[in-house]
C-alpha cells in the first residue's frame, strides 16, 4: 500500500508538468463540450482526439484522452436536466428524474445533485482503481490464453445481454463485428482471409475505422436524414447549480455508495461502459431503492444513481485496460490504440516498465474529476450556449474530423473508403434496429478472442473443455453463461405471462 501511495504522489507531481497540466485542462474543457453536444458521443470525441495525440509523448496523450473520457460522462447532464436534450446516451436516465426535478422548479438543485454524484462516483472509483490495479495486475500474470478468451467472451456477452432491444439482433451485430476482425492475414497461419486481393484488406480492417464510421458518420447521416431539426431550447429561469446540504447528502449515502460501486464493477466488464452502467444502476434503484415507487417523479435518487455510476465506470474501465490490455469500454479501446501507437503494450508488465506513466494517468483522473466539477459549476452558461450552434455547422466539422481521423490511421485513402462504408452500414443498422455497440466491440476484441482461442486449442490439443476446467476461466465462463441465460429466462417468462 505504501508503494502505491508513494507512486501516486509522484504521479501528482507528474501531472503538474506543464504539458500534462495544459492537456489535462484542455481535455476537461473539450470533454465537457463533447458531453454537451447531442450529436457527438464521448467515445467519438475520444476517437476524434486520437490523431491530435500522434506527435505527443504517451503520458500527455493518455492524460488528454482520460480527461476527455471522464468529463464526457458529466457534460451531457446539463442539457438533459435543463432542456430535456441528453448530450450522451448515458444521460437518458437523467431525463426521467433530472428534468422532472427541473420542471418542479428546482433545476439548480438537480444540477447540484448531478455534480456531487459525478464527484463522489468519480473519486471513489479512481481510489478503487488505484488500490486494485497492482493486485489485479499481479493476478493477471497468472492468466493464460484460456482466461483471456473467457474474459473477452464474458465482456462481449455482457454487452449483448445488458443492452436494450432484441438480443438476437445484438448477437448478429456482434458476430458481424467479430467477422470484420478476421479480414486480413490470419495471425497463426499467415493465410489471407476475405481480402479479395486488395492490399489494404490484407492489412486487416482497423477497429478505429469501424468506430469512426459507424458512430461518427453513421450518427451524422441519421441526423441529416431528420433534417438537422434542432430542438428549440427552452428558456430556463436559472442555470445556476445549487449544492445539496450535508444532511441531504447523508440521507442518500447508500445510493451514492451502491451506484458508484456498481458503476465501477460494470466499467470493469470488458465491453460494458458508462451507458450500460447508467441504465443498470437506474434499474437497480427502481428495483431495490427505498423510494423506488417515486422514481421518475423528480427525486434525487433518480439523478444520483445514473450519474454516479456513469462517472464511476471510467475508473473501472481503466483496470482491465492497464492490467490486461483488454479495453473495458469503447473509449478505453481508443486509449489502447493510443498506447500501441506509442509502442506501449498495456498489461501487467506496464506497472514495472512504465510505472511513472501509469500513476501520472491515475493522478490525472483525480485532478480531472475535481476540475470537471469546478468548471461545470462555473461555466455552465457558456457550455450550454453550445446548443445554439446550428447543427449543420457542428455536424460538418464532425464529418471532416472523421475523414481526417480515418486518413491518419494508416495514411491510406482506402481507410477513408472503409470508414464511409461503415458509416452507411452504421446508418442502416440504426434504421433496422441492429445495435452498433456490439459490432464495434466485436471488431475491437475479435483479434484477442481469436488469438487466445486458437492458442488455447493448439496448447491443449483442441480440448474445448479446458475453458471450463481451469478454475479462473471456469468461473468466468459460468458468469458468461449466467449473463446469457438470465435475460433469456426473463424474456420467456414475460412471453409466457402474456399468453
Amino acid at each position: 500500500m505504501g508503494d502505491i501511495l508513494y507512486n501516486l504522489l509522484l504521479g501528482f507531481v507528474g501531472c503538474f508538468q506543464p504539458m500534462n497540466l495544459i492537456l489535462l485542462v484542455a481535455g476537461t474543457i473539450v470533454g465537457l463540450v463533447v458531453g454537451v453536444l447531442p450529436g457527438l458521443t464521448l467515445v467519438m470525441g475520444v476517437v476524434l482526439a486520437l490523431p491530435f495525440t500522434y506527435p505527443m509523448e504517451v503520458t500527455p496523450a493518455i492524460v488528454l484522452l482520460t480527461a476527455m473520457y471522464v468529463t464526457g460522462t458529466y457534460g451531457g447532464a446539463f442539457t438533459s436536466i435543463l432542456f430535456r436534450i441528453p448530450g450522451e446516451p448515458i444521460h437518458v436516465p437523467l431525463l426521467w428524474d433530472g428534468y422532472a426535478m427541473a420542471r418542479k422548479g428546482q433545476p439548480a438543485k438537480a444540477l447540484g445533485w448531478t455534480l456531487y454524484a459525478a464527484l463522489f462516483g468519480g473519486l471513489l472509483s479512481a481510489a478503487i482503481m488505484v488500490t486494485l490495479s497492482q493486485p489485479v495486475a499481479k493476478f493477471a500474470l497468472t492468466f493464460s490464453t484460456p482466461e483471456y478468451f473467457a474474459i473477452v467472451l464474458f465482456g462481449l456477452t455482457s454487452v449483448v445481454s445488458l443492452g436494450s432491444g432484441s438480443m438476437t439482433n445484438a448477437f448478429i451485430s456482434l458476430f458481424l463485428g467479430l467477422l470484420i476482425s478476421t479480414v486480413g492475414v490470419d495471425p497463426t497461419y499467415g493465410t489471407p482471409r476475405f481480402a479479395f486481393g486488395y492490399p489494404i484488406l490484407m492489412d486487416g480492417i482497423e477497429f478505429l475505422t469501424v468506430m469512426v464510421g459507424a458512430y461518427g458518420v453513421g450518427e451524422v447521416l441519421t441526423r441529416l436524414g431528420e433534417g438537422f431539426t434542432t430542438v428549440p431550447v427552452e428558456k430556463v429561469a436559472s442555470m445556476k447549480t445549487s449544492l445539496p446540504g450535508w444532511k441531504e447528502l447523508r440521507g442518500l449515502k447508500a445510493v451514492f455508495l451502491r451506484s458508484s460501486i456498481l458503476g465501477h464493477i460494470v466499467g470493469i466488464v470488458p465491453g460494458a461502459g458508462a451507458t450500460i452502467a447508467s441504465f443498470v444502476t437506474y434499474g437497480v434503484e427502481g428495483q431495490y431503492g427505498k423510494r423506488r415507487k417515486e422514481l421518475g417523479t423528480g427525486i434525487p435518487e433518480g439523478i444520483v444513481a445514473p450519474q454516479a455510476a456513469a462517472t464511476a465506470s471510467v475508473g473501472g474501465a481503466m483496470i482491465p485496460l492497464l492490467t490486461m490490455g483488454v479495453p473495458g469500454s469503447g473509449a478505453t479501446a481508443v486509449m489502447l490504440g493510443a498506447f500501441l501507437l506509442h509502442g506501449i503494450q498495456p498489461g501487467p508488465q506496464v506497472f514495472i516498465t512504465s510505472a511513472n506513466m501509469v500513476y501520472t494517468v491515475f493522478a490525472s483522473l483525480f485532478i480531472g474529476i475535481v476540475l470537471m466539477c469546478v468548471v461545470g459549476y462555473i461555466a455552465i452558461k457558456p457550455l450550454v450556449k453550445i446548443l445554439d450552434f446550428p447543427e449543420a455547422v457542428v455536424s460538418v466539422y464532425i464529418m471532416l474530423l472523421c475523414f481526417v481521423g480515418a486518413l491518419s490511421i494508416r495514411n491510406s485513402i482506402s481507410d477513408l473508403w472503409l470508414m464511409v462504408a461503415f458509416g452507411v452500414v452504421g446508418y442502416f443498422f440504426d434504421r433496422i434496429k441492429f445495435p452498433i455497440a456490439p459490432l464495434v466491440l466485436g471488431t475491437i476484441l475479435g483479434p484477442l478472442a481469436e488469438t487466445s482461442f486458437y492458442t488455447t486449442m493448439i496448447s491443449f490439443q483442441n480440448d474445448w473443455t479446458i475453458f471450463f476446467r481451469r478454475p479462473i476461466s471456469g468461473v468466468i465462463m459460468a458468469l458468461t453463461v449466467i449473463a446469457l441465460v438470465l435475460p433469456m429466462l426473463k424474456t420467456f417468462r414475460t412471453v409466457a405471462r402474456k399468453r
Binding site: P55, L179, L407, V420, Y454, I458
Partner: protein
C-alpha cells in the same frame, strides 16, 4: 400482413445469404495446417454459422410465430407512430451519402484543401443552413484550421491532389508556411 412480415424478414434474409456466400469463401482458404490443429477457416466459419443460425431463428420466428396486428389495430398503431415520429428527409440523406462517397473519390484528385472547402460549404447547404456569409467563413476558416492542425502540427499526410488542383494545395500550404 404477409407484406409486413416480409419487410421484417428482409434484413435477416440478406444477412443469411451474404453469410452463406462468405461461408463458401471461407471453405476456399488455402493453408497447410498440422494434423489435428484447427485451420484459419474454423473461426470465421464458426462466426458465420452462428450468424446464419441467428438469422434463421428470426426468420422462422417472424414467419410462423409472430402475431401481426389486425388491419384496424395496424392503422391505429400507424397513426400513433406518425404522430410521434419525427419528419424525415430521405432526399437529404441520399444527397449526404452521395456527397460523402464523392468526397472519398475526389479528395485524391482535387486535394484535401479544395475538396474539404467544397464539402464544408455544400454540407451546410444540404443541412438546410442558409446564412451564406457564415457558410463561407466556416468553409474557409475550417479548412485552414484543419490543414494547419493536421499537416503542420500533427504531421498527417493528407492528399495533395492531381494537376492542376494540386496547385491550389501548394499555394495554400505556402501561404500557411507549411513545407
Amino acid at each position: 400482413m404477409a407484406v409486413e412480415k416480409l419487410k421484417k424478414v428482409v434484413p435477416y434474409v440478406l444477412i443469411l445469404l451474404v453469410s452463406l456466400y462468405f461461408y463458401y469463401l471461407a471453405g476456399q482458404f488455402r493453408f497447410s495446417a498440422k494434423p489435428g490443429n484447427l485451420g484459419p477457416d474454423f473461426w470465421p466459419k464458426l462466426l458465420l454459422g452462428l450468424t446464419m443460425a441467428a438469422c434463421l431463428y428470426e426468420i422462422i420466428k417472424t414467419a410462423f410465430f409472430l402475431k401481426m396486428a389486425s388491419p384496424k389495430e395496424a392503422t391505429e398503431e400507424k397513426s400513433a407512430k406518425v404522430a410521434t415520429t419525427k419528419k424525415t428527409y430521405p432526399g437529404l440523406l441520399v444527397i449526404g451519402i452521395v456527397m460523402t462517397v464523392a468526397y472519398a473519390y475526389f479528395v485524391t484528385k482535387l486535394g484535401f484543401v479544395l475538396c474539404t472547402f467544397l464539402y464544408f460549404a455544400l454540407f451546410m447547404i444540404v443541412g438546410r443552413y442558409r446564412k451564406i456569409w457564415a457558410i463561407l467563413a466556416n468553409s474557409v476558416v475550417g479548412t485552414l484550421v484543419l490543414v494547419v492542425i493536421f499537416m503542420k502540427v500533427v504531421y498527417v499526410s493528407l492528399p495533395l491532389g492531381q494537376e492542376p488542383f494540386s496547385g491550389v494545395t501548394f499555394f495554400v500550404l505556402k501561404m500557411l508556411g507549411i513545407k
